[in-house]
């Protein structure tokens, strides 16, 4: 998904109703929306409240509680860089500094050209082969500055990353 499609309310509503039979359907629905649109648009809040018979405040509270759910469309490539202790011990914070100084990318932000979103994540379970990142859901290990630059430059040159 490259350009962030105008949210299609009917489609969102059908995604919601597809999951309504599940016990505790809220998170599966939010994931489905984010998978489809790359983020959870605020227009989904009243639809969810109506479908689940809860208040809009409860829906908003749930969306904002979880770090995963974005409130705006991400870049074409999403890089989730692990910043927890195991990756700290092998220099993930140097990568954070490198992204800023060499690529003008700051954490938890999207590049100006919309090519890359760099997000903080705490642990990807690749703690013996850090620093680690998920690049559009592909796990990459042993990231040094060179590899990191390659990932970012590759992202900047790709028309479409997210699927």
């Amino acid at each position: 998904m490259t350009k962030h499609m105008q949210r299609d309310e009917a489609f969102a509503a059908s995604l919601i109703s597809e999951h309504l039979h599940l016990e505790g359907a809220m998170l599966p629905i939010l994931h489905a929306l984010q998978n489809e649109f790359g983020y959870v648009d605020e227009a989904a809040i009243p639809l969810l409240a109506e479908a689940l018979n809860i208040s809009k405040a409860e829906v908003l509270g749930t969306i904002t509680f979880y770090h995963d759910f974005r409130h705006e469309p991400p870049g074409r490539t999403v890089i989730k860089l692990c910043r927890s202790e195991a990756c700290q011990s092998v220099g993930c914070e140097e990568l954070v500094a490198h992204a800023k100084s060499h690529h003008n990318l700051s954490m938890d932000n999207t590049s100006e050209d919309g090519s890359v979103t760099l997000e903080t994540v705490y642990c990807l379970g690749n703690c013996a082969l850090g620093p680690a990142a998920l690049v559009n859901d592909e796990l990459v290990g042993r990231i040094d500055q060179k590899k990191f630059t390659q990932i970012i430059e590759h992202a900047a040159s790709t028309a479409g990353g997210r699927s």
């Binding site: 809220m26 939010l30 509680f65 770090h67 195991a86 990807l124 379970g125 703690c127 082969l129 290990g141």
Partner: protein, 520 residues
Amino acid sequence: MTSSIRIYVPADAAAVSVGANAVAAKMIQEAEHRKIAISLVRNGSRGMLWLEPLVEIETPQGRIGFGPVGVDDVASLFEAGLGQAGKHPLALGIVDELQWMKQQTRLTFARVGLIDPLSMEDYKKHGGLVGLQTALALSGADIVEQVRASGLRGRGGAGFPTGIKWKTVHDAAADQKYIVCNADEGDSGTFADRMLMEGDPFTLIEGMVIAGVAVGATKGYIYLRSEYPHAHAVLQKAIAVAQESALLGPSILGSGKAFDLEVRLGAGAYICGEETSLLESLEGKRGIVRAKPPIPALHGLFGKPTIVNNVLSLASVPWIMAHGAQSYADFGLGRSRGTLPVQIAGNVKHGGLIELAFGITLREIIEGFGVGTLSGRPVRAVQIGGPLGAYVPPEQFDTPMDYEALAGIQAMLGHGGMVVFDDTVDMAKQARFAFEFCAKESCGKCTPCRIGATRGVELMDHIIAGKDRDQNIKTMRDLTQLMTDASLCAMGGLTPMPVLSALNHYPEDFTRPAMPLAAE
């Protein structure tokens, strides 16, 4: 195809992160090109992560390992004659006879790395389903008694006796009960759950089915963290295979007993590894911690009696049922019975997973298995048990790795993860991070955690900046006492552990020449 050569290239996420998929693709391409019949198995990881991608080739003598194999090495493996490639520069010898493997006691991880994770045939050939068949012949109470007698304690971190939890749910009367698997493995330095789910998912499923049969629950959920997309894909496929083979469904192995299972994804909240927060999240709400009592065993998911167990606790159960409680209890030390999958990670030369009986010392793990730091510098600290665990200095490395011994040095075992740091680590920064992490991940329900963590970050900023150090350190100690005593759950209650261990063992880092205020 019988004469084809069996080659194993792990599909474990860690192996994939260093190129295993490309190696597997190249293997197939090279075999086609040379017209050599191979059968490629995508196994789990053996746990020797520094050797990934670890390629194994089956020979009459056993499986020979090669690693780490890059795409460019594949052609030379074929040149050397695959099974005859014992002299190849990357050859490691027979994998089962390597020092790393030989020193272990693999019960829970017996099949991980050995089998095709999604082949029910492989699973059965390697002893799968024996535990469940044994359980199906017993009463629920007898299964619970076996688990209790094994001495198994919750592997998630708290170490609560699994059998007692099961008994409470067994004895509760309800129209619906649930088995919930806590697969929200959020602690940095831990990946055992992930490796098991990717390398041998049927073991976890079998363990959950046994739990369901034991306590009369017909529905299970695996609450998996969203940071594990590879494990998610494997579990989805494994559940489908399990349904086709009647390991799940309306009549488990034809017994007439029903049990079914769903995977649910978390959404990046560390706190959802706390069992009551996890239940709230499964119910579709914010992951706010519940006050206990009532305990989840009586009032759990949707208010029903619920077993909430860690992946490794549930995955240990099939072995216990197949081999008997006493056989399991024969491993271990004191009140820590059985085996523990230890994960050694961070700045370490040989990182990976080893399953050992309780009682091995930290030094044997760090120096024996880990062989020191990746950077080649001296080890300065090891954080054990995740972001809420203590930083342990080398003077304490002769402590045995068990629940009570670690508690004795104000540390904790947690989920068995160890993160190694070399001498470039700044322990004041690590203490600050512990507070920062707590501030970000706190559910916000109780004040000591919600406000205390933020105050802790501020205090650490002042200390690092050299402002009123003595007074601020005193205030920080006071704050940690309050958080320990008054927090609702382990998030706020244990954040003081890494902070105080850093302060007590490395006071010199808190009195260094002043640094400008930290950037964040």
